[in-house]
């Protein structure tokens, strides 16, 4: 996994104050150690009275079980929980999530960094029936993405290479794009850069699908404006939760 100390996560998180809310002790100890590694300040809140208690903090890490209580918090929140918990999160709050168990502290630090630094994206389209474009040269991935998105009524268009992905994006103006990195003709980074350079597509949120052996791709994707990422091999339900989060915001 990514070593967050090897890029600018350490600089972005250094000195930040982070509340750890209602997180199991097994996890909070590891999280605290990770935050100390990037010299962030942290405080464990086993109980809290209202979301106002979180105002003094720059970021919040919370168990997904306390979603209703913390969702009105004005600070970015990173939830920890099962994939099934994520669908319950109010899309209006500025959040991301890490699927546990197991806890991957490096992933957590990367996502905290992204919460702090990412650009907020709001696509101009608000269609009643969301459309998501999935671009991948692997037909099994496309079949799985289409099936899982179809479960919640999201129409999934597909593209088998980077060139087709650009063409279909310009034609369809999808609410979100699931983008593989390694594709023929144009790779995912080239597609993402082209999308961001075009005012008509610049605001479409993109979820990068990346191999777990190419974590550096995650950082490159974020720097090019990706909204999120999912590592391959991927859990379809996690991908669904991440795409839904973006589609609901659009």
């Amino acid at each position: 996994m990514i070593d967050p100390r090897s890029f600018d996560a350490a600089r972005a998180l250094t000195g930040k104050s982070i509340a750890i809310v209602s997180v199991a002790r097994d996890f909070s100890g590891s999280i605290a150690a990770g935050l100390e590694g990037v010299r962030a300040h942290w405080r464990v809140l086993r109980e809290f009275r209202s979301a106002d208690d979180l105002d003094p903090f720059d970021l919040v890490i919370a168990d997904a079980a306390v979603v209703p209580a913390v969702a009105s918090c004005r600070k970015p929140i990173l939830f920890l929980g099962g994939v099934e918990d994520m669908a319950a999160i109010d899309a209006d709050c500025d959040h991301d999530f890490v699927v546990v168990p197991p806890l991957n502290v490096d992933e957590l630090l990367v996502r905290l960094h992204h919460l702090l630094t990412r650009h907020r994206e709001r696509p101009g389209r608000s269609a009643a029936a969301p459309v998501v474009l999935a671009a991948d040269d692997d037909p099994t991935t496309l079949a799985i993405v289409r099936a899982v998105l179809g479960q919640v009524g999201i129409t999934c268009a597909t593209a088998a290479n980077g060139k087709q992905a650009l063409e279909r994006t310009r034609d369809l103006k999808p609410n979100a794009i699931v983008l593989d990195v390694n594709m023929p003709f144009l790779d995912g980074f080239e597609v993402l850069a082209s999308l961001r350079a075009d005012p008509h597509t610049a605001g479409i949120p993109v979820v990068m699908l990346t191999s777990v052996q190419q974590e550096v791709d995650v950082l490159r994707g974020f720097s090019l404006g990706a909204a999120d990422y999912v590592a391959k091999p991927f859990n379809p339900m996690e991908l669904l939760a991440r795409v839904q989060r973006l589609v609901q915001k659009s």
């Binding site: 692997d138 037909p139 099994t140 390694n182 191999s211 091999p233």
Partner: protein, 132 residues
Amino acid sequence: MNIATPEPDDLAALRQRLNEDPIDLEVIDNLRSLGDEALIDEVVQLYAKDSPPRIAAMREALAAGDAVAVARAAHGLKSSSGNVGARHVHDLCAALESIGRGGSLAGASSALELLEREYARATGALESLRTS
């Protein structure tokens, strides 16, 4: 097997695990949880159709001594193998991709031989799951 070159350590470790079930049933359960048995049929059939050209590409690239092409073909098969839970094929693809990215093809012949064997086991097991 190519005995002229030593195997990378990770490949030797991987060889030890090959007697385990070729399919990660949790991945199949995840597909089933999407509520559509036809999806497993579709994905398994796509995998069976899409993989042989990728394996052939690896074999050709290896014969040509083209490490970059070996890595590229291995990467493609790795992704689809992960999707169907063909864990040993996935891991062997990862090993071949790593070998190819390293620029040297030491151990690649041995890894490809294992991969072809594991691919046959995986597709057999997938076919059984599909028809069960």
